[in-house]
Symmetry: C2
Subunit: 353 residues, 2 copies
């Protein structure tokens, strides 16, 4: 692991192995590398070789998961860190309506972590979290890189490749005035759970995924694929930076403005216990819910559930104000009054807004 | 940059911008994003969209470039760090005989770097080095991720996608007994220059690339593509970990052994000034030369130059010893005596072997 080596059975097995590496290799070897039609050649060469479906385009995304920025080792269970590492990339594929092809993991471990039994367990759990989610979505881990971390931080970077039928990928840029704005699932849950997690001194045991919107987010791949297949959406983005920021992104790329209806926003159950003043910022600005935000023409009938996931109408698109280059999002209250909703500026490890 | 955001004009421009980000955006905006037939959609959405050539497979590689592991800020010029970051990935594509499709950069900068004018210059120079090399090879920077570094280290991870005609990619696994072993260029130069670089207190000015085998390595893309097109090579690998280690990798994947002829090994001019005892380990074990090591049947006529690059015959492949699972590489001296050549175990920032 010192210096760095490609994820490669032979090269890693041929060198003196530290505990951290052993766990890494053992985990990856247990993973089935065959049985993926799209994977011509997996780990063990200079590159992996993928065979994309005919008449398709390739979509690509990369996402850091850096200790101290995206997670803390003393509050986040290792399994959740591995799950979240992959989920971030899967959610980007979902927002394009793509089917996953393969994942690539670059992973740098601190010397101290690789040298202890507890550290090895941490790496094993991290990989188990990542590979369990990969397996649920039929995504092979096809390669990557390993290195010793230059500090005491675990550093991961995930690359996801997916495919969409040529010319059909969902984009941020297709929303038109009068389109209706929809969101999947519920909002603010991840930020609410993060606040709980940061109050802990050690990681708490994981329960069902539904109870962990922050620790075990679910990428909406099936919904995104259904939106593409049925031709429902004019534009789509995943909610990683929070509703107020990501709707602005969509409006910016589509050169439109938007109006959100406050009373329609679907609130995550974790917000129910909080006073209104505490819940509202999480709902509007809380990041990392990894739900899909999309637009559809008013003439299109969008079901209330897609692939088992609730879909809620939360607003509509309006023409960009004349002469303005920056998008504007208005928040409309039940009494009809409106005010500008500014981007909340989500930061991963804080919940101050 | 705090927290993290996709490389996205709109999202980055909409937030308060720090110096480091400004440089990043300015540089990336100056880069032409149009004019690449394979790039349907570049930076600015949840994913980039690529259209690979018909009847092709996709090859993928990821490579960390971590400060303190792969480079030092006080000895390596920023431009060289950016160049090397991309060159590592391009060399992996070369070893498959692939044509580059696109690059994706995940980049985490320390707060202190993003906050100063000198830091901004460093980032500008880093990106200039990366983008100049990308432009030389017609590779668009199609996306990536940015984050604040959790320590005082610059952290980069590069993903390269390339394409090869279906079923034609060069692999490590095709070498057969009696095949001849060839290498491009010269060996040991990168390790020799690294030793010079590490003795410095500050980065020295860069001259022509030929004088900088460590700081400005040249990925052998044209040679790799020619080997594939002309059907010359049975197996291929790039020399990133050093001759002794990488030839073992090739032998392991091909289930063969190999014999190297000491007198034939092409020595880089930088080794000429060193005593034999100092030069020899660099030649055999020095990493990061990024030359191609390949095998061809003895009946195939391999030119002495391919695409202007010297190609030298340095040994041959032999049958794996009976009952042995690990590959063996023998080094044969001019007098006919042989000894086993063990893998040297290259580490990026040391030259001790």
């Amino acid at each position: 692991m010192v210096g760095g080596s490609k994820l490669c059975w032979v090269s890693m097995a041929a060198k003196p192995i530290r505990r951290g590496e052993l766990g890494l290799i053992a985990h990856l070897r247990r993973q089935p590398q065959r049985g993926f039609a799209q994977l011509t050649l997996g780990i063990g060469d200079d590159c992996a070789i993928l065979k994309p479906p005919a008449n398709s385009e390739i979509v690509v995304t990369t996402d850091f998961s850096l200790e101290g920025r995206h997670f803390l080792r003393h509050t986040h269970p290792a399994r959740a860190v591995g799950h979240r590492c992959l989920a971030r990339g899967l959610s980007d594929l979902a927002a394009m309506g793509a089917r996953p092809l393969a994942a690539f993991l670059s992973l740098a471990l601190p010397e101290a972590l690789a040298a202890t039994r507890a550290g090895q367990r941490w790496v094993d759990e991290f990989l188990a979290g990542l590979l369990t989610l990969a397996s649920q979505h039929g995504v092979p881990l096809a390669g990557g890189d390993t290195a010793g971390s230059p500090s005491n931080h675990v550093l991961a970077d995930i690359t996801l490749l997916g495919s969409t039928p040529t010319g059909r990928a969902l984009r941020r840029s297709g929303a038109c005035p009068n389109d209706v704005v929809y969101v999947t699932g519920a909002l603010g849950g991840a930020a609410a759970e993060l606040a709980q997690v940061l109050r802990r001194r050690r990681p708490a045991p994981l329960r069902d995924a539904e109870r962990h919107p922050h620790l075990l987010p679910q990428a909406r791949l099936a919904v995104g694929q259904a939106l593409l297949r049925r031709g429902l959406a004019t534009a789509c983005i995943d909610l990683s930076d929070g509703l107020s920021t990501d709707l602005r992104h969509l409006c910016a790329e589509s050169h439109v403005d938007a109006v959100l209806e406050a009373a329609r926003l679907p609130q995550h159950p974790l917000l129910a216990r909080l006073p209104h003043k505490a819940a509202w910022p999480l709902l509007l600005h809380g990041g990392e819910d990894y739900e899909l935000l999309f637009t559809a023409p008013p003439t299109v009938r969008v079901p209330r559930r897609i692939c088992g996931v609730a879909v809620t109408r939360i607003g509509h698109i309006v023409r960009r104000r004349r002469g303005q280059s920056e998008p504007q999002v208005l928040l409309q209250q039940a009494d009809g009054s409106t005010a500008e909703l500014r981007a909340g500026g989500w930061q991963h490890l804080t919940t101050d807004h």
